[in-house]
């Protein structure tokens, strides 16, 4: 059988790509790029504000916004036309980040068993261990996207020298709360599981708290997260506190 040429349409970003019958991706870059991440966050915020009937859910990933819709109410062709109009409205790569984001400060230990690959990662980044911890905690990092587990945020971007490749061999399991790094990003693990990233620290933070009806999933895309270095003892003391000692405030 011959397939229609439309199956092979893939223009350069920004690009609309139907994802099945009831989904649409708006892609701002085909490789990880900070401006594209900001664009995706801002674009999603704009779509949420439109509140079209038939809009079911929106989301972002690293460089794309995603719209889930009911095709019976909002025909895909109409949605595409509206999205194109909004795309043309402005330079989304230069858009401001949306309001209503949260700044989190999360205590983390970088000592002993809490940081089994810190020395390794520091060396690869060309830093002393002390300088590495200082840089990891130096500034808030943006939740570029969440995935793998509920509440698991990919935080970035760190400076270029943190562009560490993943390990060839997976670490069979890191614990919930572990801080791992690769490709200019940090993750606070929201579950325990295998990873190809290097574990450089430990928090007691639970990013997924299904019993907390208020905020069952701590982080949302676009939130800022700053780690605060504490001793291993202090980390255990804080573990008993609400949010394991983490604090949060609205970003104005």
């Amino acid at each position: 059988m011959s397939l229609p040429d439309t199956l092979f349409d893939r223009s350069d970003p920004p690009r609309l790509t139907p994802l099945g019958l009831d989904g649409m991706l708006i892609t701002f870059s085909d490789r990880m790029d900070d401006a594209a991440n900001r664009a995706a966050l801002a674009f999603r915020d704009r779509i949420d504000a439109e509140g079209w009937p038939g809009l079911r859910e929106t989301a972002t990933s690293l460089c794309s916004a995603y719209v889930s819709f009911d095709p019976a109410t909002l025909p895909p062709a109409d949605l595409q036309a509206r999205l194109r109009e909004i795309l043309a409205d402005r330079d989304w790569l230069a858009a401001d980040l949306p309001a209503n984001r949260t700044l989190w400060t999360v205590p983390a230990s970088f000592e002993g068993d809490h940081a089994p690959q810190l020395a390794d990662a520091a060396e690869l980044a060309g830093l002393s261990v002390e300088a590495a911890v200082r840089e990891i905690c130096a500034r808030p990092l943006r939740a570029l996207a969440l995935g793998y587990a509920p509440g698991q945020a990919y935080l970035g971007q760190m400076d270029d020298h943190w562009d560490l490749a993943r390990q060839k061999d997976l670490t069979p399991t890191v614990k919930e709360g572990a801080v791992v790094t690769a490709v200019r990003q940090l993750i606070i693990f929201a579950t325990s599981g295998p990873t190809g990233w290097r574990q450089v620290g430990m928090t007691r933070f639970k990013a997924f708290r299904p019993d907390d009806s208020d905020r069952p999933i701590a982080f949302a895309p676009g939130d800022e997260v700053q780690l605060r270095a504490v001793s291993a003892d202090e980390l255990e003391r804080l573990a008993e506190k609400p949010l394991a000692g983490a604090t949060h405030e609205a970003i104005r």
Partner: protein
């Protein structure tokens, strides 16, 4: 509050509803019933809201009792079913009284079977839904002795039936392009639509693996793909080039290439293909997909219209049913509460 007591239950069973929306961007997939149509069928048979939760059973089934007269509906993958040893019709509603044992299973075809109850299973909602998320450990663990609360039944008829098309043996599945379809070579996409796939043994609520003869499927530069949103129905190629049809508990983002996405109306059929079933995929154009599409509201309305009373001649009923289910239930020997 009335209770449904589990006496025996196979692995992979869980409480399910239509899942939770609104958490995709924070890494939690919609979840909910693997065969959403079966939940709608249960709601139509019991004349109640499709938002109520039911029991999703895998092939082995289970046995159950109630502590008050309870309307039930049996939908999804057909199972052998009996009440105190008396065969029960599938895709139908029945009344179960205290003291009677409802024995379900094994499935005669398909993968996911549903036991809906009047008033719904009334476990505590988590993030807006009662749907268990097995990969995350959300929802009650079902085992011998588990007592599940049931909501108040507003009442309605029983002994109603639905004629449903057989979606339990694989077949032709219609797909539309997904994130990475355009990155596959034309000859690979053509080969994909010309290949007969077999549902592998490996599968769960996250996705089911397909196997095929011939070369693996891959895109150019597929290790460099940026992670994108994933939804149930996407057909994802793993690193080894083997397709998986992703189901309600799939991850929310990922960087493996997705060759297509199953039409929502064909997803129940894709999910119900049991190990060994054959599946073939065909790209359809968007207009054809839209013409075939029915919202879940529209599906429920149509199902409600299709519900019919079970017509039978009481004098002949016992013989007739045992004739139809001759290879099925052993009559007169009710399941006891033994564990497996």
């Amino acid at each position: 509050m009335t209770k449904l007591t589990v006496h025996k239950i196979g692995p992979g069973a869980s409480v399910q509803d239509l899942g939770r929306r609104g958490w995709l961007s924070q890494g939690l997939s919609r979840g909910g019933a693997a065969d959403r149509l079966a939940l709608l069928e249960g709601a139509a048979l019991l004349e109640q809201s499709p938002d109520l939760a039911a029991l999703e059973l895998s092939a082995m089934g289970g046995s159950f009792t109630v502590d008050a007269p309870t309307r039930i509906a049996l939908t999804g993958a057909p199972m052998r079913a009996s009440l105190d040893g008396e065969p029960l019709r599938w895709s139908a509603s029945h009344l179960v009284k205290p003291g009677q044992t409802l024995a379900l299973g094994p499935a005669t075809s398909g993968v996911w079977s549903y036991l809906s109850v009047g008033g719904g299973i009334d476990t505590a909602p988590i993030l807006g839904s009662r749907a268990a998320h097995l990969a995350l450990g959300l929802g009650p663990k079902l085992e011998t002795g588990t007592e599940l609360p049931m909501g108040k039944d507003k009442g309605g008829p029983v002994e109603q039936i639905l004629e449903v098309s057989d979606r339990f043996k694989g077949g032709d599945i219609r797909i539309l392009p997904s994130t990475h379809t355009a990155l596959f070579a034309r000859e690979d996409l053509e080969r994909f639509t010309e290949t007969t796939f077999t549902r592998d043994q490996r599968g769960n609520r996250q996705g089911v693996r397909l196997k095929h003869d011939g070369a693996p499927f891959a895109t150019r530069d597929q290790l460099g793909l940026v992670s994108e949103v994933i939804v149930p129905g996407d057909i994802q190629m793993t690193g080894e080039g083997t397709p998986y049809i992703l189901l309600p508990e799939c991850q929310t983002t990922g960087g493996y290439p997705r060759i297509g996405s199953v039409l929502p109306v064909d997803l129940p059929k894709a999910a119900q293909a049991a190990p060994g079933a054959k599946l073939r995929f065909a790209f359809v154009d968007r207009d054809a997909a839209l013409a075939a599409h029915q919202s879940e509201d529209a599906q429920l309305t149509a199902l409600k219209k299709a519900v019919r009373p079970l017509v039978r001649d009481p004098a002949k009923m016992r013989d007739l049913l045992s004739y139809q289910l001759i290879s099925g239930v052993t009559a007169g020997r009710p399941e006891t509460g033994d564990t497996q």
